[in-house]
């Protein structure tokens, strides 16, 4: 049983973990208190509490632990097939001699993507979310603990392919990075405004295919800025390498900043024990 949240079952499964997990939002078993109270007076109780508060509490814990170790964490979100895993492997090849990198792979079913990452020689762990369509902070906390991340490293999290639900779930990352490929249509930022509003960086991927498509880059970027004027944009091709230097520079400067602001406080015992 998980000692942090008391959960004993759920749908999410962390590769190599002996007990299944899900739900940062807490299966703190709902029937547990059923028999503790008699039937009381019927009344209205004002609650006013956020549905995401449990996830947000785990995200805060994660963020504190990452900060303490100077770890730079990115949460990569996109539709299925935008090129997250391909971009990750290409990124790792370029950076692995200079930075310690680890990856958490979110996927509903397979461990295929984690295998692709491990083939590059860096540690990766797969979280299968089952029916869950996004990662949550609780799963990520456990997976990060299992990865035993070194100080001043970079953790890249590939979220489940979905432009809706992951936008609401903070994992404790430094930035959400939304990846959009040019094969998807210019209006994605308007169709999924929450995600583009939650992200700090848009990676426009597969630009090598632009000559074959009718994709209006300027219009797409205009839509994106309409939703989020502060969104930074980098155009890449994970296949030809175009734009990859801008992307890896951005990661390296983030990693440097995380290292420099590492708190010198003595590290606390792990909260996800």
């Amino acid at each position: 049983m998980c000692t942090t949240c008391g959960c004993g079952q759920g749908e999410g499964r962390i590769e190599g973990d002996e007990h299944p997990h899900a739900h940062a939002d807490g299966m703190i078993h709902s029937h547990a208190h059923m028999h503790e109270h008699g039937i009381g007076q019927r009344r209205m109780v004002q609650i006013e509490r956020n549905l995401l508060e449990k996830n947000d509490a785990f995200a805060k814990l994660n963020r504190e632990q990452f900060a303490e170790k100077g770890i730079f964490v990115l949460n990569l979100v996109s539709s299925p097939g935008s090129g997250k895993t391909t971009l990750l492997t290409a990124t790792i090849e370029r950076l692995k001699d200079r930075l310690a990198i680890a990856v958490i792979e979110g996927d509903q079913q397979t461990t295929h993507d984690a295998d692709r990452i491990r083939a590059t020689g860096v540690p990766a762990i797969q979280i299968n979310t089952g029916k869950g369509c996004h990662l949550d902070a609780h799963m990520v906390g456990h997976a990060a603990e299992r990865l035993n991340l070194p100080q001043d490293s970079v953790l890249m999290i590939e979220n489940v392919g979905n432009l809706v639900c992951p936008s609401a779930f903070d994992l404790g990352e430094a930035h959400k990075v939304v990846i959009l490929s040019v094969t998807e249509g210019e209006d994605k930022p308007l169709k999924y405004p929450d995600m583009f509003a939650a992200a700090d960086l848009l990676v426009l991927n597969k630009v090598d295919l632009l000559p074959y498509l009718k994709f209006e880059v300027d219009q797409c970027l205009d839509f994106a800025h309409r939703v989020n004027p502060r969104l930074k944009i980098i155009r890449t091709s994970a296949v030809t390498g175009e734009g990859m230097a801008a992307w890896t520079d951005w990661i390296e400067s983030g990693a440097r900043a995380a290292k420099n602001s590492r708190s010198e406080a003595p590290s606390k015992p792990p909260c996800h024990a």
């Binding site: 939002d25 703190i28 208190h33 609650i47 995401l52 449990k54």
Partner: protein, 110 residues
């Protein structure tokens, strides 16, 4: 689904603290800009409350209007999407000031 599990967690904590054993009605507040499909939520509610103190409870969902603040006009306007322009000056986007709620508002309990 996770949202509904968050709801159960909040209900259980309150059941303990406030001493109720049964939830008859759950009132949620899901803003129009929260990006949550209310129908999907209703479906998940049934599944998640089965066997809980809220089994068979009625779900009421209030959907507060999206609101945005224009820094130019210093005025708040109703909006349908995150990228609706200010109706007065056309500025995009407005600073979202309402409509992103995802809350358990109240419970009818006994």
């Amino acid at each position: 689904m996770s949202l509904m599990e968050g709801m159960l967690h909040i209900m259980d904590e309150n059941a303990k603290a406030q001493g109720f054993g049964r939830v008859r009605t759950v009132i949620l507040e899901i803003g129009k800009l929260a990006g949550v499909e209310v129908e999907a939520l209703r479906f998940a509610f049934e599944a998640v409350t089965e066997g809980s103190i809220a089994e068979g409870a009625t779900l009421e969902i209030e959907e507060p209007q999206g609101l945005g603040w224009c820094v130019e006009c210093e005025r708040e306007s109703s909006i349908e999407t995150r990228y609706d322009p200010c109706p007065l000056c056309g500025k995009v986007p407005l600073a979202i000031t309402g409509g992103t709620e995802m809350r358990v508002k109240a419970l009818d309990v006994e």
